[in-house]
C-alpha cells in the first residue's frame, strides 16, 4: 500500500515538474513572440512613416505651387523672383525636417528589430553593439527634431511628460539589462514620434484642404457658375473633389499611430498586453498606409 502511494506520488511530482516546465517554456515563448510582434509593428510603422512624410512634403510643395501659379499674373517680375526664392527656401527647410523624421523612425525600427532578436536568442556582441549604436544615434538626432517647427507649433510643444516604466515578466538577463538602461530613453523617442506625427498631420490637413478647395473652385464650382456648357467630365470631377475631402478626416485617424506604438511599447515592457496583442497598433498603422494610398492614387479626371 505504502509503496504504491510513494510510486503514485513520484509520478504526480514528475507530472507537476513537466507541467511547470511546459508553462515556463510557454510563458517564455509568449514573451519572445510579443517582442517579435512589436518589432514587426515597428517595421510597418517605419514604412508607413516614410511614405507619409514623403506625401506630406509633396502636399506642402503642391499647395505652394498652386498658390504661386494662381498669383503669378498679379506679380511683377521682380516680385515673382523674390517670392519664389523665399518660398522655395522655406519649403527646403521643411523637407530637411521631414528627412530627419524618416531617419529617426528608421533608427527606432532598427532598435525594435534588435530588441526582438535579443528576446529570442542569446545575447551576442553584435546585438549589444547594434543597440548601443542606435541609442546613441537617436540621442544625437533628438534635439534638432524636438526644436523643429511643423504645422503651427514647435514639436516640443506637443510632447508630454515622461511616464515611469515598470519592467515586468522579463526573464532573460541581457534583455532586462537593456530595457532597464534604455527603455525610458526609447519611450521618450516614441513620444517625440507622437509629437512629430501630430504636428505633421496638422500641416497635412491644412495643405490638403487648400488643394481640394482650389480644385473645387477651378474644376467644379467656377465652371458650373460661369461656363456656357459643362463637359462630360464635370460630374466625375465633382464626385472626386467631394469624396476627396474624406482624406482630410483620414489624416486625423492616421495621426494616432505613433501614440499607439508608444502605448504598445509601454505595454510590452510592463507585460500589460491584452488578448488582442498589438492589433490596435497595426490598425492605426494601416490607417496611415490607407491615407498614403489615398493620396497617391492617380486621379481619373484631368
Amino acid at each position: 500500500m505504502m509503496t504504491e502511494y510513494i510510486k503514485h506520488n513520484k509520478q504526480m511530482r514528475r507530472y507537476l515538474i513537466l507541467l511547470l516546465l511546459f508553462s515556463v517554456t510557454s510563458c517564455v515563448s509568449t514573451r519572445v513572440n510579443q517582442f517579435a510582434g512589436f518589432a514587426e509593428a515597428g517595421r510597418q510603422y517605419t514604412r508607413a512613416m516614410e511614405s507619409l512624410t514623403t506625401e506630406a512634403g509633396g502636399l506642402a510643395i503642391d499647395a505652394d505651387s498652386e498658390l504661386l501659379l494662381k498669383g503669378r499674373d498679379q506679380l511683377s517680375q521682380e516680385e515673382r523672383g523674390k517670392m519664389y526664392i523665399e518660398r522655395s527656401d522655406a519649403l527646403r527647410e521643411l523637407l530637411v525636417t521631414l528627412q530627419g523624421i524618416r531617419k529617426h523612425s528608421r533608427l527606432l525600427e532598427r532598435y525594435f528589430t534588435a530588441l526582438g532578436a535579443l528576446a529570442g536568442s542569446d545575447p551576442t556582441a553584435a546585438l549589444s553593439s547594434e543597440l548601443n549604436s542606435v541609442v546613441n544615434s537617436l540621442a544625437a538626432l533628438h534635439p534638432a527634431l524636438e526644436k523643429a517647427s511643423m504645422g503651427n507649433a514647435r514639436v516640443s510643444d506637443y510632447m508630454g511628460a515622461a511616464v515611469p516604466l515598470v519592467l515586468s515578466g522579463i526573464k532573460q538577463q541581457a534583455l532586462e539589462q537593456e530595457l532597464r538602461r534604455n527603455a525610458p530613453v526609447i519611450e521618450r523617442e516614441l513620444e517625440l514620434q507622437t509629437a512629430l506625427l501630430k504636428a505633421l498631420s496638422q500641416q497635412m490637413t491644412e495643405d490638403l484642404e487648400l488643394l481640394l478647395d482650389i480644385k473645387d473652385y477651378s474644376g467644379v464650382t467656377r465652371p458650373f457658375v460661369e461656363a456656357p456648357s459643362l463637359g462630360d467630365t464635370w460630374k466625375a470631377k465633382r464626385k472626386e473633389v467631394l469624396t476627396g475631402y474624406l482624406s482630410v478626416d483620414a489624416v486625423e485617424k492616421a495621426a494616432s499611430a505613433a501614440e499607439s506604438l508608444q502605448r504598445g511599447f509601454r505595454d510590452l515592457v510592463e507585460r500589460r498586453i491584452g488578448i488582442g496583442g498589438f492589433a490596435p497598433v497595426f490598425s492605426d498603422i494601416h490607417a496611415m498606409l490607407d491615407l498614403v494610398e489615398m493620396l497617391r492614387t492617380p486621379k481619373t479626371t484631368p
Binding site: 499674373d73 498679379q74 517670392m83
Partner: protein
C-alpha cells in the same frame, strides 16, 4: 500668453486666412469685385502663404521678444480675423482685416 502660444495662434490664423482665401465661396464673391480688389486679394494671399511658411519654420528663440511685445495686437488681430472669416462673402472686410493682421505679422518676420 506664452510666446509659443502666440506663435501657434499666429500661424493658425495665417493658415485659416490662406485656406479661406482659396475657398470657392470667397473666390466667387471676389469675382464680383473690380480688378484692383482682385489683384489686392491675390497679392495678399501670396504674402499670407509666405508668412505662414516662415512662421512655421521660425525658431521661437529668434522671435520671442517680438511676439511678447506685440501680444495685444496679435490677439486682437486674431480675434478680428476669426470674426471676419465667418462670412466669406464679405470680401472687402476680409481684405481690410487681413491687411491689418499681416501688418503686425510683418513686424515679427520679414515679408517680401
Amino acid at each position: 500668453m506664452a510666446p509659443f502660444e502666440l506663435k501657434d495662434l499666429t500661424a493658425r490664423q495665417l493658415g485659416k486666412i490662406r485656406n479661406a482665401m482659396g475657398k470657392p465661396a470667397y473666390l466667387l464673391a471676389l469675382d464680383l469685385l473690380p480688378a484692383d480688389k482682385r489683384k489686392e486679394s491675390a497679392l495678399l494671399q501670396q504674402q499670407v502663404q509666405l508668412a505662414l511658411l516662415k512662421m512655421r519654420n521660425a525658431e521661437l528663440a529668434e522671435i520671442r521678444d517680438q511676439l511678447t511685445a506685440l501680444e495685444l495686437e496679435l490677439t486682437a488681430g486674431a480675434t478680428q480675423v476669426e470674426g471676419v472669416l465667418a462670412d466669406l462673402q464679405k470680401t472687402e472686410e476680409i481684405l481690410r482685416v487681413v491687411n491689418g493682421f499681416l501688418g503686425v505679422v510683418g513686424r515679427i518676420i520679414t515679408l517680401v
